[in-house]
Each structure stands twice: as structure tokens, then as C-alpha cells.
């Protein structure tokens, strides 16, 4: 990899489920990307993707075991552009209620809570399927995405109590409005899966490439 920065997107592989679809989607929009567990490859990459499928507890444990928590935090500190997806976004907060309580990375203040609805409301959990996102703040990663666009979600936990200054998108489910995208400086994160969200998702990924 050498000392310089390659124009490569490093997709962090911390053994948290299916990363293939993230890789395929980035390749489809013309990115050069590599799925990696190697901190040096992450350090050499131009941009970093922090995906995540699965439970917060095992995701956090794997991330730390592989030393990739440090690699991610260093990428953020070195001002690389980072996109976090789904559980990747949740792990950026201080704590998740999943798996009996998990200490997370604490990049953002706030906690990850379980969806709770009254039984009579018959709201299905997980929140699975296509839903709209009201983007705020005009972030470049969300530019030129038509207002009626919907994205693919699959999750039972959501981010609570985040600071309004990092809010970048919100979504309504079962009467509850939750944070579905956050952004600050060189970091942007989505609760939904852009890699599974059809053409609007691919547009978001190509915006990230250009960002």
C-alpha cells in the first residue's frame, strides 16, 4: 500500500454479517473498494465505510477484538470521509440497550434504544422495509435525492437523544419519529441501507464518492 493515500474506499470487515452487498453497490457506482480487516489498509484508504449487520454486542466485541475500533477512530481523527451504515451508525453512540447494554464508541453522545409500541397498536418489529427519510441540513451526501424517496430499513433499535446539530435525517415508524441519519464534519451515518435502497441508494453512495 505504501505511504501515500490511495483513491480506495476501505469497507471495514469486522465479521458483522453481509458486506458483499455494500461492496457490490460501491463497485456498481464506479468505486474502487476493498473489504478489509487490516488497519494499514484502512489508514491508506481515501475514504472508509463502517457497515454493520447483526447485534450490537457481538459487533462491538468483534470490532475491538480485531483492533478495528482504533483504526476507525484514527480514520475519523485524520479527517477521512467516513460513512457508517445501520449498526455501524448505532455503534458511534455512547451505549446500546441491545444485548443487555453495550458500551459503544462514544463518537456521538446519545443512546440506542429498542422500539417499544403498545400491543394494541400492532406495530411489527423489526422495522423492516421501505420508508421515507426527511433530510435536513443539505448535506452533500444527501443532495439531489428526490423528496419522496424511500430507503430500505431493517432494525429493532434506534438512536435516541442525539444533539440536534448532528441530525441529518428523520423517519416515522408506528407514530414514532426517530433519527435515521446523522452527520458531523467528515462523518455521515445512516440507519437505513443505501446499498439495498435501489437507485436512490446508489445515488447516495455516488454522492459519498464525490464528497
Amino acid at each position: 500500500m505504501g505511504g501515500g493515500v490511495d483513491r480506495v474506499i476501505a469497507i471495514i470487515d469486522y465479521e458483522a454479517g453481509n458486506l458483499r452487498s455494500v461492496e457490490y453497490a460501491f463497485k456498481f457506482v464506479g468505486a474502487e473498494c476493498v473489504v478489509t480487516q487490516d488497519p494499514q489498509v484502512i489508514a491508506a484508504a481515501e475514504k472508509v465505510v463502517f457497515p454493520g449487520v447483526g447485534a450490537a454486542g457481538s459487533c462491538m466485541a468483534n470490532l475491538c477484538r480485531l483492533g478495528l475500533d482504533k483504526a476507525l477512530l484514527e480514520a475519523l481523527a485524520s479527517k477521512k470521509k467516513v460513512l457508517a451504515i445501520c449498526v455501524g451508525m448505532q455503534l458511534l453512540f455512547e451505549e446500546s440497550r441491545e444485548d443487555g447494554g453495550v458500551e459503544c464508541l462514544g463518537v456521538f453522545s446519545g443512546r440506542v434504544e429498542h422500539f417499544e409500541f403498545p400491543a394494541a397498536a400492532r406495530v411489527k418489529i423489526p422495522h423492516m422495509g421501505w420508508n421515507a427519510v426527511a433530510f435536513t441540513g443539505g448535506h452533500p451526501v444527501f443532495k439531489d435525492i428526490p423528496a419522496a424517496s424511500e430507503f430500505y430499513f431493517v432494525h429493532s433499535y434506534y438512536v435516541e437523544d442525539n444533539a440536534p446539530e448532528i441530525l441529518a435525517g428523520s423517519t416515522e415508524y408506528g407514530g414514532k419519529v426517530f433519527t435515521s441519519a446523522v452527520a458531523r464534519d467528515n462523518l455521515v451515518a445512516t440507519q437505513f441501507h443505501p446499498e439495498k435502497s435501489g437507485k436512490v441508494g446508489l445515488k447516495l453512495l455516488s454522492n459519498f464518492l464525490e464528497w
Partner: protein
């Protein structure tokens, strides 16, 4: 607000998509990856691939096909048929499938649901249920029985009880197929769909019997399904996914708009 989903099912046999009537007599329709791409372009929300002969031929699901699909379409898709255990599930998921569906395997070995959920997360495990209406009895109190082998083999297992148990075991979704309605194009089994959908807190996909847009409206509203599965409606070119979604939306059922 979460949209209801329109899902197209592609039954695959020898690398061709095929469609049968009540699991008897199949007609080849086309190449699975090419068809998947067409439906994706046409606005389908999700796809399901069933390798319909993998089980009978005791061979694993066609992983090359799964990879091909994952490289070309960027919406969720699940695969089923020929899943023999957790390792087969892993291979399908690593190839790019979003979810894996188990049906008769789970009836014979319910633990596969919890093993899959533990290994990959509940959202990856879909329970496929083939259900037949029968007389109410002490062993089948709901009057709906689980059958396997394309409806040929009754299992003495109550469908409602099985759905609840599968949720407890860790299924993330149920794909509910009425054997009585399947292939008839006379409408989904609304009573069954509502019964199951209201009994569990996980999403339920209604399958079997969809022949008109009105049938889809009915099962997503009256039937309380979270998603409707179709096949022959679009396979023969009678309808388009975009046309169906437009009609269903116009009747007040929330669908993902095409932008």
C-alpha cells in the same frame, strides 16, 4: 410511514425461472438474473428466489446465481430451497442474499431457526409456511395445517401454533403460502393471512392466489399482510410492478413511490 411491499417470487429450476400451478406442471419463463433486473427496474420492492428442485435433488442452492443477482440488483432479496443447515445459510448470505428462507427443514428441525437467528440475526431468517385448510380438530385447532412437499404431505402441525413458535425461536419474518389459493389467481387466503399476521409481531408476507391488483389491495388491508408476493401476474406480462403499485397506492395502501 412504512410502505407495504410488493415482492416478486422467482421459482428457479435448472437456472431457469419456472411457474407451476398448485406445484404441478411447470413452464419455463426465463433467465433469473435478467428477470430480476427487469423487475428491479420496474420498481419491485424485494425479490424471492426459490431453487425448487435443490431439496429434492439433495444439492445446495445455486450460489453463482445468488452472486450474479447481488451484483446487479440493489434491493433486498431472499433465497430458499436446498438449505440444509447453518452452513448453507451462511454461504447464501455471504454471496449477497439479504435473507434465507427455510420451510420443510424448519418443520423437521425447528432448531434451525434459532441457530440461524443466533448466527446471523433474526432479520436474516424467514420462515416459509405452506398451509392447507382442514377440518378443525384437537390437533389442528385453527383449521389450518402445515404441509410440506408442495402440499402433498400433511404434518399434523397447526399453522397458527407453528407461526407463534417460529417467532419465539427467532424467525424475523414469515412467508405464508396458502396451498389452496396458490396458482388459482382467485385471490389470497385473507382469513388465514389475517389470523397469522395478527398473532405474531414479526412481518408477514402473503403468498398464493394473487391474480389482480384488487387481490393485492385486499390482502394488504383486510388481510393485514405487510407484503404481498406475486409471480404469474408479472411473469406472463399481464401486469407490471409499477402499474400494480400505482393502483394499490391509489386505493389508499401506502407503497414505495418510484422516483
Amino acid at each position: 410511514m412504512l410502505s407495504k411491499r410488493l415482492i416478486v417470487c422467482l421459482d428457479v429450476r435448472d437456472k431457469k425461472v419456472t411457474k407451476g400451478i398448485k406445484f404441478k406442471g411447470n413452464v419455463d419463463i426465463g433467465d433469473p438474473v435478467e428477470l430480476a433486473r427487469q423487475y428491479y427496474e420496474d420498481g419491485v420492492d424485494e425479490l424471492v428466489f426459490y431453487d425448487i428442485t435443490a431439496s429434492a435433488e439433495a444439492r445446495p442452492i445455486d450460489i453463482e446465481m445468488v452472486e450474479d443477482v447481488a451484483k446487479n440488483i440493489f434491493i433486498p432479496f431472499s433465497v430458499g430451497g436446498g438449505i440444509r443447515g447453518v452452513e448453507d445459510m451462511r454461504r447464501a448470505l455471504l454471496a449477497g442474499a439479504e435473507k434465507v428462507s427455510v420451510n420443510s427443514l424448519a418443520v423437521k428441525n425447528p432448531e434451525i431457526i434459532s441457530e440461524g437467528a443466533r448466527a446471523f440475526g433474526k432479520q436474516c431468517v424467514v420462515l416459509g409456511m405452506d398451509v392447507k385448510k382442514v377440518a378443525v380438530s384437537t390437533s389442528i385447532p385453527s383449521g389450518y395445517e402445515i404441509v410440506i412437499q408442495g402440499g402433498r404431505k400433511p404434518m399434523g402441525l397447526d399453522a397458527l401454533e407453528w407461526a407463534r413458535r417460529a417467532e419465539e425461536l427467532g424467525a424475523g419474518e414469515i412467508c405464508l403460502n396458502s396451498i389452496d389459493a396458490d396458482g388459482t389467481k382467485e385471490g389470497y387466503e385473507l382469513t388465514l393471512t389475517r389470523l397469522i399476521s395478527e398473532a405474531v409481531s414479526i412481518p408477514v408476507i402473503a403468498s398464493g392466489g394473487g391474480g389482480t391488483c384488487e387481490h393485492i389491495v385486499d390482502v394488504l388491508s383486510e388481510g393485514r399482510a405487510d407484503a404481498a408476493l406475486i409471480a404469474s401476474m408479472v411473469h406472463y406480462g399481464d401486469y407490471t410492478c409499477s402499474g400494480i403499485k400505482e393502483y394499490v397506492s391509489s386505493k389508499g395502501v401506502k407503497m414505495r413511490p418510484l422516483v
